[in-house]
Symmetry: C2
Subunit: 198 residues, 2 copies
């Protein structure tokens, strides 16, 4: 093979590599992933991957972007699944938890806090913002409809952080001797909407 690849073909190969990596990460976990194992599955050598990604970090970044977009797709689908705003918020919460449960590696990739690179590539920044925005929209709608009151952006972050907090505490094995997760989730969401003050 010596004929140069078009930009499109390069993108295709990048995507193929990313898919293989995602498969391994889903099967074996994040820490088990290596350039050699990815290349092996492609019948290649680790060095070949450097034609398509400048580093492992850049490959992980691409995977993060894809994960964010898959996530946002799910949330948006849940958003569009019903017109009733209370049902909608419930559906979005369900979709959120379903994503975290069925694609834990992708979820961890999205919200990993050990990333060395302080400078995210612009596309990742955009993907992050999309995830964030998707989780804000429905709250804005609820505030507009008069179902909730307060700054919708702040409110959305409260819902998001609570759900995320529960998910990662569970992933860290910190909720093993706590009340059932479903109960915690339901009650936490209820508290934010209604409060706990006596």
């Amino acid at each position: 093979m010596a004929l140069p690849l078009t930009d499109e073909q390069v993108l295709d190969v990048r995507e193929r590599i990313r898919r293989v990596a995602e498969g391994q990460i889903a099967r074996e976990g994040i820490s088990a992933i290596s350039l050699r194992s990815i290349a092996g599955e492609l019948g290649w050598t680790a060095a070949s991957l450097y034609r398509y990604f400048a580093s492992k970090q850049e490959l992980l970044s691409a995977m993060r972007i894809a994960a964010h977009n898959r996530f946002a797709d799910r949330i948006e689908a849940a958003h569009d699944s019903t017109a009733n705003l209370w049902d909608r918020s419930r559906a979005i919460g369900d979709a959120y938890l379903d994503f975290a449960e069925t694609q834990p590696a992708a979820y961890q990739l999205m919200f990993a806090y050990d990333q060395e690179d302080k400078k995210d590539p612009p596309e990742l920044q955009r993907a992050r913002k999309r995830s964030s925005l998707t989780l804000t929209t429905y709250v804005v709608e609820m505030v507009d409809a008069g179902l909730l009151q307060g700054d919708p952006v702040v409110l959305a972050h409260a819902f998001w952080a609570s759900l995320h907090g529960l998910v990662v505490l569970r992933m860290a094995g910190q909720l093993d001797h706590s009340p059932p997760f479903d109960l915690l989730r339901r009650e936490t969401m209820r508290l934010i909407t209604r409060g706990a003050r006596a």
Copy 2:
């Protein structure tokens, strides 16, 4: 040196190693830590560390335990800093965030969700429970005093998960274009106590 170490001395050496590792983790980050660098700072060889820890995993586990205990100490100190229950809850929140900000590596260690070992050593389980319990006590007091209503354990988890969620979202760089962190924190806590329903 060929004379056998007493159990106490072994514990001392374990603690010395742990301290060196904690220093490096605080300075260089979690991923930069290596047995060779730790041993180097002690004037030793990496292999020597295996007299005191069966694996790097076990060393990390000891560091996790120490981090949990330092954390619980801080929270308990905040708890005892005032008798007014509202002030107390505020002080605990402050202490929580201060710990996460000033000792991010320790915080990440405590709540890392990429741990391979599903089986935590009993001492780590105890340390985890202590952290969890410490964050529950003051809520129980507030419910007992009639300041809050509901299941105190569930309520405590709601506060905890929300705070933790905010912290790790910020660590993941996901709050860079969001409202100021202090505002998010204050409003989220306020929402859980008072609710957002119109």
